[in-house]
Symmetry: C2
Subunit: 356 residues, 2 copies
DNA sequence: TTTGTTGATGAACACGTTTTCATTTTGTGA
DNA sequence: TCACAAAATGAAAACGTGTTCATCAACAAA
């Protein structure tokens, strides 16, 4: 129960095939054609007389026939599977991303193969080994401390790998060495707008409530915030440790005001953290938001517009991002050796009720 | 973009195999054994001299070899894939369930194959056709209006299918006709406790804020609530239409108090709906919870303990439920013809701050 | 030593497709 | 009608594995 029973422990008891699925041979026999014709009927670019194709598809429908993906994968080398490695499916932001990616990929004929990494963003090496067995055409990792190069070592076919740093996705192909396709998020815009707004309200002391320590997204946001404050001649932020969770953000905020010196505004590394901060301020410290303390989040998850929070937050457009990522994957699969692409997305501030 | 390009629109361009994965033949050659021996080395119950097995596994590690699941699936008839059909991955309850199921199944050597159904709980028939191609060993559907029998028609192998009604999971095997494995949730306990608590506070007029109309879970909860109220000699509830979303719950609550006659307590079909109701009461209607109106939810999602809501809710133990479901799947795969099993789970009230 | 039993071994087959290639059919213009 | 290109067709090979079956070695019991 505690460990994987993968790879070296699989039970390979043969399945009962009493109610076996229809095969291409059966369809061929029934329709008086060769098996090859059936195959061609299901491949739109193959040449086959239209009426013949129609008849075959008709018979296939009657027999409830579908090409077997395993067999197809074996000869084609394409599994039509996209592996996703996720530490926490419950996280609102990640679940949104999984949802949107699955929808988009499904429309392109790919199915999502979901794997759960460990909660600390790390990954059991055996998980990679296991995943490799399924031959995914591409891999998207939400796990920030497995670097593309490491992943590449395990997936030794030329599999496009995208590692999502929340902000950055990188591609690594065994062939392309250290050159990656990149999906970048320009944090600057949103943070710039947020800081300008705060400054307009006369905010002076800003606290940054961080995400997971290993998170590169978190590092990038912190760096950009510091840079922006400096450019505007404002004081450097007080940095609090966090881990993207509500509870940790809640406690960190309590500490900031009870033990520490407090702040005029809190910049949280993600929306869920912002919720924790808001609740600590309002329900435990007796402070009001935004009158006493202003709060800004990151992500703009659906919960951000709930009236209890009504959060002002820096938004990354999810649909745009997913479209871009899917486009990268498809292009890379089509042209494995093309020179690396780079797509850049913008962020912008969504102004709601927690500032001003 | 709008429709599936499944099945009849697949691009089957051959993948470049320049960096091909190691095959069992290569391992065999390198280790001076037959290919069969390699196969046996990876199947623990096969008989093979221990030292030979060790040597093979060693070579396999060096060559970074993993058995190809597609090939294995082809001959074995087992894909080690569990298909999940989900309308909304973002829903907190469903994402929790996906997360826990994936973790548990992964530990048993199964990977999760995720498909997205339409938002109205319905499913494109082509989605089933598509999924069938991957030969999942079992299917878990979160989509309430695809009945097991319909699913069975598409998956004509003896595939265990579990349809999750949030409260009820049923199994349908082509062989077993209309007899299902059943995973039941006893709603009665939790609702009983909630009603008793409300009655103790002198509540008289209760509103039931429903979930999706097609949802059987919703129907069951409404029915049980009515039954319980009747048993205790209380008035029948006012029933409001909903769809499990925050926004709809928010508006329904406004209507109830502005157009309708209001209520002393609101029973929401799920936690997210309860949040919508609470926010409408507090932030739009100027009423306080729990003093003016008491609110009870369903599910006990992680957000329920957030201070802004601190929701009193009827809990279904997720871990227990997932364990039971995985156990059912494994047993059914091991013994396809065994007589149907039934597991029953309980619910209980988690008392927090929205009542009392 | 002989017999019987158990465990290890590899050749051949099976799984359900796609693809290659040589062949046949169809269509088009002179 | 003929010649030629283009499209349609099916036989056979390939993909990478698990399993069956007959064989062989080893070892214990008679």
């Amino acid at each position: 129960m505690n460990t994987f029973s993968f790879c070296d422990g699989l039970m390979n008891d043969r399945a009962d095939k009493k109610a076996a699925r229809a095969t291409a041979d059966q369809v061929a026999r029934e329709a008086n054609v060769s098996r090859v014709a059936v195959s061609r009927a299901f491949n739109p670019n193959a040449s086959l007389k239209p009426e013949k194709r129609d008849r075959i598809l008709q018979v296939a429908r009657e027999l409830n026939y579908t090409p077997d993906m395993a067999a197809r994968s074996l000869v084609t080398g394409r599994s039509h599977l996209v592996g996703m490695i996720v530490p926490d499916v419950c996280s609102p932001w990640e679940s949104q991303e999984i949802d949107a990616l699955t929808t988009a990929l499904q429309a392109e004929g790919f199915a999502t193969l979901l794997f759960k990494a460990k909660a600390d963003f790390s990954m059991d090496p055996r998980l990679l080994t296991y995943m490799r067995g399924f031959n995914p055409d591409s891999v998207i990792a939400f796990t920030e401390n497995i670097l593309p190069d490491v992943l590449c070592g395990f997936l030794d076919r030329a599999v496009p790998i995208y590692v999502i740093y929340d902000d950055v996705a990188q591609f690594a192909g065994a062939a392309s060495g250290t050159l990656y396709d990149r999906l970048l998020v320009r944090q600057k815009n949103g943070i710039e707008q947020a800081v300008a707004l705060l400054q307009g309200y006369g905010v002076r002391r800003i606290a940054y409530l961080g995400g997971k320590a290993q998170s590169l997204a978190n590092a990038e946001r912190e760096r950009t915030l510091k840079e922006t404050l400096a450019e505007r001649g404002m004081d450097a932020p007080i940095v609090l440790a966090g881990d993207y969770t509500y509870d940790t953000a809640f406690r960190a905020t309590l500490d900031l005001f009870r033990i520490g010196e407090g702040a005029d505004a809190i910049f949280a590394a993600n929306d869920v953290g912002a919720f924790g901060a808001i609740d600590a301020l309002r329900h435990e410290l007796g402070l009001s938001v935004p009158e006493d303390v202003k709060v800004v989040g990151f992500d703009d998850i659906p919960q951000a517009h709930w009236k209890s929070y009504n959060l002002t937050t820096v938004r990354i457009d999810l649909e745009e991002r997913v479209r871009a990522l899917v486009r990268l994957i498809l292009m890379r699969l089509r042209a494995p050796d093309a020179t690396p692409f780079t797509e850049t997305l913008n962020t912008r501030l969504i102004v709601r009720g927690t500032v001003g």
